[in-house]
Homo-oligomer: 649 residues x 2
């Protein structure tokens, strides 16, 4: 087979030299780059849709499968999408600087007491430390080390049938002798899906080592990963760490990740490695902050959406995205840290919380238990976690029904010309003057910086705010179209049709105007309509209307920054008194933490997993009607939004 | 730190070129060789005792810690023991050809029915295959794959609470879809030490695959490793494979292996890797012979002595050789093949049989159940496995007592000038003419060769035979001393004292006389005395004498070749009618096989492990007296050997 030599030139500022690789003719440029160790972001997972993998082919023959997202001019000067371009001869390729992903993370390092709805009891968590002193062996008593320890655990602590694995046995002999026959054993008494199982020996430490007992709660978000380091003696969270999921460069959303995992030979293993690596960094940081070794962390309880948990466990998630959308497993069996290389004690067990469906995962069951929505009787509650997918649960203490609707990536800043993630430079709140149509806005600043940066674009909460303000100020009509008749040069016919200038170029970071177009507004309209339609269908499926809902609990990092008034104005959230809404932040990691420290919460999360009904919207023939009805500001049925109608007339 | 360059020249005939390595001053030559990838045999484990690691230092400065086993002449021409020599400057070293280990292995490839004392029932073995056909998922039924399978296994086969591990879950989705929702599952219903546990899913195969179900029984001998491939549907042994334990180059006996494991940083892992590699070769051969894949082997039941099982599981065996001789674990927990890299299905469980002490391991409990010694009521039986250690068990169906005595390596051919292993060229049986003192003998031939090879030395059975014949012919007296007064030039004063020429040099392979010396005879005397003393102490400990023994069952590969008459004549075996003795061959692998296919045998091996009493000879103050009394031919108490006294007068 003919081969071609591909030479990758580094971007300006990259200190590493050029890299070269030899590949068969027809190889994708993205694969050649990977082989050469050159990092190219592919947020859409190599589908040719996001345009972020564009490179410049300086010399040589290529074949472009697609040029979507590239202009004719781009193509003329050699731009090509790495994931859509086949190598057909020796090449020289320049890789532009890859966007450093900098977003607003909930990286609060504040440790300490997380408020609990129940009193903490050390006996409620699943780990124990016991000190045992054994009679030393002699020629008269040659009992083997393991039986000797077992007998004593049974005699002194009533522990029967303790299980042990080879790695712990490997350390047993030296530990007993180093401790002069006094050791501290770490035992797990129960875990999820095996509450009644035999106790399991996790570690044997020489001497008396009762001073601490550590575990972690973890949340695997598609975007960000979170670790809470928990002192099981006090029950307190002693360190909180967060970072971006290392898989992001292989796809921004779950669908792109699944595609990446499916189409690359070792895709699943690669994505697993990336997320485990991210967590290992966080675990190391948390351990360092408390001056402990990660080997002293003896358990992890993990929440995350179904795709993230499949990838974390190395299970192919392919069927999640294919009709009829099936997970391989909703409740993973407990496994040991060494099985996936997670950087805590290798014999520590990892308990993943149960999910209920492909798009309602353990992050939602976890969210439900931590939100307290099933604590109060007869208070009909709507729990919602808004992101690329909007997952929502309706119910009270006796029943729960859930669904997920694909809102699309508009709220994540994609599909919008000047959209961006909620990072420094993003406009997160905006006001439109109803007379002059001029704007004022608030920009997310750099951590620790004293001055606001110049705006670079609009993040999700900014877009919701902008849409609402434009609607109230009549810059757009009820269908979301820009009114070109307004007496301001901010409205104009642009390259992509009618648009509104949010910030003039002389005030922006790039020098270009920040605008919003009719196309952008249409994407936003569809996103908010999908979410509201989901609410409606959930309520209708149980014979109710949204009027019956008494409170709305909003989870997820994005949810925290939504302006409720604006979200109601565009008809994304139901029209209820503002104090009916509560923002709960990361409910997923909080639920994992609760399941870690409380037997009752462990039971509850299993109950929630079993009792929650999943409503598949693609199988519901009323969804399309509800969605169409919501493609209007605030809604085709204005009666549903009396507070908005009062303002807009 | 100063470093030295060590250049290893290959031996004549070795086609690989010289190898060079840089090491710190003071490094042992054996470590330098290992780093350079040059293989040097160290049968004594690097203790400087066997002399087999001698190399020739051609140039450069060394420091010899010991020159034991080397003559002054050897040292003068540059010979040095690699394990006892420190590098002190740049060196050039010649490594002599390493002895290819060729011994007599029980490599019978005969497969088929192994006779069983019970009728075989397929329901008695621990594995099952079930075919299940599932309703495919749909938008109306989005049950996850694993729950769907569990429900059907429960509904159709009453299997509740089936456990699964991540690797099996990773294959589940594709298997279900490749099989169009019909799959064959492999389930383990029970194993040793968890007979009542939940069933465990080992594999999921697309479609209907009921045609076969494979497992293996394995014996880990210090010298040889054996695999029996078992068809669990018929219960028959379909392939038998044997090979030398790959650890031999790191120590000939268990003590040398333990020393090697303890004194090298990764010694345990290295020895584990070597034995697993040996087994993987055997498993591959067995699978090839039956035209199957090793992935179709779903279970291994393993027997072996305590040191071998510790090393197989990667557990440091150090305490086995140190007073008071303690194992880390006598009954290993079941573990999965992937945990140690054994080349069968990665999720297959490995059940190791229970041992009872450091020197009475699972090979003996396995031997006891397969010998049938506890099948017959009231027939007092002595079971003995003779090798470097003599392990022996006395009892009947209601009680068992065991001990181990260190016979030393004389019967393995070590500690005897012309001793050798039972391989081609070894004299295995010998006759001394009572008039002329001339000898005739039988030599072990090459497999398949038509002519007997010239003798190269004496193996264990040959030494027993020789000692007995010399005693009967009065070549030696009752203390084992050569009678130099005999009218034959075969007796003479040699370099090591009085000696007897067994074969003249003109008939031997090397051209040198094969002799036996007073020193050799003394070593043999001590070995046979240790074994007989063990028998006596066992009997006495339960208030009996050896007269009460009704039958002697002899296990182990070496046992098979002993001439009973000779062994009685030297007082190694008790004086009983020849038909009281039965040779059982490898009772260890046979017991593992029985435990694999029979529930009753699995229960019995656990019972045996629990009911067998271990007698520690080093804590028994009568052992030394019994040993001294046995340092005589056949014994100081001639009444114990009436049949011998009748011949010798």
């Amino acid at each position: 087979m003919a081969t071609c030599r591909v030479r990758f030139l580094p971007a300006d500022g990259d200190e590493r030299g050029p890299r070269e690789v030899e590949v068969p003719t027809g190889t994708l440029l993205s694969d050649a780059a990977q082989e050469a160790g050159v990092d190219i972001n592919m947020p859409c997972g190599g589908q040719g849709r996001c345009g972020r993998c564009a490179v410049i082919v300086e010399e040589g023959r290529i074949r472009r499968h697609s040029t979507e997202r590239l202009s004719v001019d781009d193509v003329a000067v050699g731009y090509a999408l790495a994931c859509q371009t086949a190598v057909e001869g020796d090449l020289v390729v320049t890789v532009p600087p890859q966007e450093k992903i900098e977003r607003r993370l909930d990286t609060s390092k504040r440790a300490g007491k997380v408020e609990l709805p129940f009193p903490y009891s050390v006996h409620d968590q699943p780990l124990r430390k016991y000190v045992v002193t054994l009679d030393p062996p002699s020629l008269q008593d040659q009992t083997d080390d393991w039986s000797r320890l077992q007998h004593e655990l049974s005699r002194r602590y009533d522990l029967e049938g303790v299980r042990v694995s080879l790695p712990v046995l490997r350390d047993l002999g030296p530990a007993l002798r180093d401790g002069d026959w006094t050791v501290t054993v770490v035992v797990e008494l129960e875990n999820l899906s095996r509450p009644e199982g035999p106790p399991r020996l996790i570690d044997v430490l020489p001497g008396e080592r009762l001073e601490s007992l550590w575990a972690v709660a973890m949340d695997i978000g598609t975007t960000s990963n979170v670790v809470w380091l928990v002192d099981l003696i006090s029950g307190e969270v002693m360190s909180q760490q967060a970072d971006y999921n290392g898989q992001i460069a292989r796809g921004e959303d779950v669908i792109s990740r699944i595609i990446y995992a499916s189409k690359n030979e070792n895709g699943v293993a690669e994505l697993q490695g990336l997320v485990v690596e991210t967590f290992n960094g966080l675990l190391e940081q948390a351990a360092q902050q408390r001056g402990i070794s990660t080997d002293e962390i003896y358990k992890a309880v993990v929440a995350g959406n179904s795709t993230m948990l499949h990838l974390f466990a190395g299970i192919p998630p392919e069927t999640i995205r294919l009709m009829p959308f099936i997970t391989v497993v909703n409740q993973l069996p407990p496994f040991e840290a060494r099985e996936i290389g997670l950087g805590i004690n290798p014999a520590a067990s990892i308990d993943c919380l149960p999910g209920i469906a492909s798009y309602v995962g353990a992050d939602i069951t976890s969210g439900v238990i931590s939100s307290g929505m099933c604590d109060t009787e007869d208070k009909l509650t709507l729990f919602v976690d808004v992101g690329t997918n909007g997952e929502m649960v309706l119910g009270d203490c006796s029943w729960l029904i859930a669904c997920a609707c694909s809102a699309g990536p508009a709220f994540e800043g994609a599909g919008v010309v000047d959209g961006m993630r909620a990072t420094a430079g993003a406009i997160e709140e905006i006001w439109v003057d109803r007379e002059t149509y001029e704007t004022t806005y608030r920009v997310i600043g750099d951590e620790g910086a004293t001055e606001s940066p110049r705006p670079r674009g609009l993040c999700g909460s900014g877009l919701i705010s902008l849409m609402a303000e434009m609607f109230i100020a009549d810059v757009i009509d009820k269908s979301g179209n820009v009114n070109l008749e307004l007496p301001t040069d901010r409205v104009r016919e642009g390259e992509h049709g009618a648009e509104y200038v949010v910030v003039w170029g002389d005030k922006t970071e790039s020098g270009n105007d920040i605008v919003i177009t009719n196309v952008d507004l249409d994407n936003l309209m569809r996103a908010k309509a999908a979410i509201y339609a989901g609410f409606s269908i959930l309520a209708r499926s149980v014979g109710l209307t949204l009027d019956a809902v008494e409170r709305v609990l909003i989870g997820g990092a994005f949810g925290q920054y939504i302006n409720v008034e604006n979200a109601i104005q565009i008809g994304m959230l139901p029209d209820m008194p503002y104090d009916s809404f509560q923002f709960l932040g990361n409910t997923s990691v909080r639920g994992a933490y609760m399941a870690l420290i409380s037997r009752e919460m462990r039971e509850r999360v299993e109950e929630v997993g079993q009792m929650m009904t999943y409503l598949e919207l693609s199988a519901d023939n009323t969804f399309f009607d509800e969605f169409n009805a919501a493609l209007f500001l605030p809604h085709t049925d204005a009666d549903k939004f009396p507070s908005v109608t009062r303002v807009t007339g």
